[in-house]
């Protein structure tokens, strides 16, 4: 095999990944890379397909198209889309946690961590036959596995509760236990599905510490889905942003944070003052309540989540013959941003330093005026020169269905522009 790959080589590379449920495109042509030893965050508004990406990586879904390559430390490469789900943790060393915690609630913490070491112990027990008669190295392997469990219990700060049932733990501790359990499989890539969801600030800090500890000591690379921006910005080295199953941004946290496409996707293209404040606060939940909720009719439905039912019910639904339902034009907020930026006659700054008073046009209020300014529309003659396509883009962006043409902004602008000249 090749020489052992250096740090910062890609551990996971996702190429042209597509996942279709019937006619619904949950992920469309997604490519990104996660580098070894880094924390890569996968973010995006609700229903952007983040969990679907995870389910493809960890084998719970078989992607409709694309290639997911995992390169292990020893240089061996595994095509995850071809491995059965249970072999992905076993052979490719990818472990995962779940959005809604899936612990073995009736088993103790220690047992939870021992179950995670199943494959190792199974081999040590001679596939049960030798272990049943107490022959072979099972005893030693069992003691070793308890040591490993102890190590991770200690890391997750749960040693004192090792003999309690997992279902008895508070929520934050359950999250940490799930991560500890995933780490007990000895993974090279750890996939965390919203690890900070529902945690209070103290628990969230404890989680950050655990993740930083994992990154620093075990050399495990982490791929995480997160909604909590403060967690993402604090701990991740690399951020990939999804919207409606498509990648809209990719880079380090600071560049992603200031990417207008991301802001548009997350916050909606909206009143800048409010959004600026909210973005500074990092309070995504408030922003979501304002605007972040995607249109159910266009985004993936709830049942796109594997958690909606038994796995057997959700796997294998992708059907090439099914009607292809693409996300409707204009549903993607990042897309709206792109199109508006492309308005034919945008200016960098108002001519002569002062913009025209756009509110004179009937139908444009102060909020819309500011929005238009933001996109380089300052003067009546700019609006007067709008083509059909420009009007449509502006309508989609301002969410004014047909209002611009109905109210004849262009006509009004022409009149006002002429009046201004006169």
């Amino acid at each position: 095999m090749n020489a052992a790959p250096a740090m910062n080589d890609p551990i996971l590379s996702v190429e042209h990944l597509s996942m279709k449920f019937g006619g619904l495109v949950a992920i469309g042509d997604l490519s990104f890379e996660a580098r070894r030893g880094e924390i890569t965050a996968l973010i995006g508004p609700n229903g952007a397909g983040k969990t679907t990406v995870f389910n493809c990586i960890t084998g719970f879904y078989k992607p409709s198209e694309g290639m997911i390559t995992l390169t292990r430390r020893d240089g061996s490469q595994h095509l995850l889309e071809r491995l059965p789900d249970f072999q992905i943790p076993a052979k490719a060393k990818v472990a995962r946690t779940f959005q809604n915690i899936r612990l073995f609630s009736g088993m103790t913490l220690l047992e939870n961590l021992l179950v995670a070491q199943h494959n190792k112990l199974m081999a040590a027990s001679g596939y049960t036959l030798l272990g049943l008669f107490g022959i072979g190295g099972y005893h030693k392997a069992s003691a070793e596995s308890i040591e490993l469990a102890k190590y991770w219990l200690d890391k997750a700060d749960l040693t004192s509760r090792a003999d309690d049932p997992a279902g008895d733990l508070p929520y934050g501790a359950q999250r940490r236990l799930e991560i500890a359990r995933a780490m007990c499989t000895g993974p090279e890539l750890l996939c965390l599905d919203e690890p900070a969801a529902g945690l209070n600030p103290r628990e969230s800090n404890a989680l950050n510490e655990l993740l930083q500890g994992i990154k620093a000591t075990s050399g495990t690379s982490i791929l995480l889905i997160e909604h909590d921006m403060s967690v993402v910005m604090q701990i991740s080295d690399h951020v990939v942003v999804l919207e409606y199953g498509r990648k809209i941004s990719d880079g380090d946290p600071t560049s992603v944070k200031s990417d207008p496409r991301v802001i548009a996707a997350y916050l909606g293209v909206d009143d800048t003052e409010v959004t600026d404040v909210l973005a500074e606060v990092g309070d995504v939940h408030v922003i979501e309540q304002l605007d972040g909720e995607p249109d159910r009719a266009h985004g993936p439905t709830d049942s796109a989540s594997m958690m909606a039912g038994p796995v057997s019910d959700t796997i294998g639904h992708s059907d090439d013959k099914g009607e292809l339902v693409l996300v409707e034009d204009g549903a993607s907020k990042a897309g709206q941003y792109d199109r508006l930026s492309a308005l034919a006659n945008a200016l960098a700054a108002p001519k002569g330093g002062t913009p025209d008073k756009l509110t004179l046009i009937k139908g444009i209020g102060p909020v819309n005026e500011r929005k238009l300014h933001e996109h380089g529309i300052f003067h009546f003659e700019q609006i007067a020169a709008w083509s059909e396509a420009d009007i449509e883009a502006a309508e989609a962006y301002l969410e004014f269905d047909g209002r611009i043409s109905r109210e004849n902004w262009v006509g009004q602008a022409k009149a006002l522009a002429a009046g201004g000249e006169r």
């Binding site: 719970f60 609630s105 088993m107 103790t108 021992l114 179950v115 112990l121 219990l153 090792a162 279902g167």
Partner: protein, 464 residues
Amino acid sequence: MTAISPDHIERTTPAQRALREALYAGVISFGLFVLLIGLKSDQNIRNELILVQRWGLLAIVVALVMAGRFATVAYLQPYFAARKAEKAKAAPVSADAEKTFFWKHWTKIAIAALFLYPVVIYQLVGLQGSLKWVDNFGIQILIYVMLAWGLNIVVGLAGLLDLGYVAFYAVGAYSYALLASEFGWSFWILLPAAGLMAAFWGVILGFPVLRLRGDYLAIVTLAFGEIIRLVLINWREVTNGTTGISGIPKVTFFGLFDFDVSSPFYIAKVFDIPQSGVYYKIFLYYLILLLALLTAFVTIRLRRLPVGRAWEALREDEIACRSLGINTTNTKLTAFAIGAMFGGFAGAFFAARQGFVSPESFVFLESAIILAIVVLGGMGSLTGIAIAALVMIGGTEILRELHFLKAVFGQDFTPELYRMLLFGMAMVIVMLWKPRGFVGSREPTAFLHKSKAVSSSFTKEGHG
């Protein structure tokens, strides 16, 4: 209103209240039974429809209801209330450190008692008298204990609801019956063979049901049980149909001596003791006791091995299992195979004990009884299941002994005909009283500091 009621309660003693409640109960039961019991439509000698009046019987029933209600309110309820209060008071004092010698070592004591049981019975009622107690009670109960422990692996540990377990029992029984009577092979060779055969069929059943869960799994396993039974009935060339196979050879004591009166190595001849059929029964008792203990031992060992933990993890959450790299297919199949194997052992034993097998012995009711024992005992708990088997099977057997009931209900009364009624009632009562079975809690398989039983509120029953 609020001012009156406390006085009112103070003034009524339990006896007064009981009297009042008994009256109400009497009125209600009279209203209920006046037409059901008081009047009966019948035919007279001329084939005319007449109305028979049974006021005496009605009076007895109503009086019984009133007496029962009176006793409950006047004595039972205050007694339970007092005991509850006492318990609440005593609770903080008696920590779990206060375990008596008996409770610390009770499994060993119970096993010792089981080994001594035939000896004690022999001392009490003599050689011939002990036949019934060793055979009907000892062997019969232990067969069900073993079957239930075997099914426990599938249902209790792996959480796969199996309604066709009796099929494996049948496979084991017919394996022994056919191979022993056709080829004359020894029981000691055929016992493992029957187990392997049943395990093989366990895997055969396992494959198609891997994708199924819950109710769907239950239906397919039920169907599997019926298929096996129908094959046994209809494949006459091999199984001799409904007539069954008789004259199945008895078990020998490892070839040293046997229990066949005509054989030169008959036990009575070898040891020069009087002839009796009881020797064989006592031998079988120890045999099934050892087989049952083997089942328990293997179950306990397996729970501490990765495969046993994987079974329980599978019951708790299958998706999480797969995310940890556990091959759930193999895990399910091993659960089916090992559970079936013990069913096969029990079947081979059953054939050797009866000397006769027919499809009649392997009806769905048997599966239901075994499953009921597992559920009543507490899924996953060996102790609870043993107690449930004792109560259920021992209880129905003891009905045959209740001759005094004939004096009460008349000579035609045969109590054993009511066993299914009592079985059902017992199940309803136990499930109301202990919804997760006699022993609902779960013993952890490993611990760091101190082993603490896991309450039933955390464990899951599995999705099938």
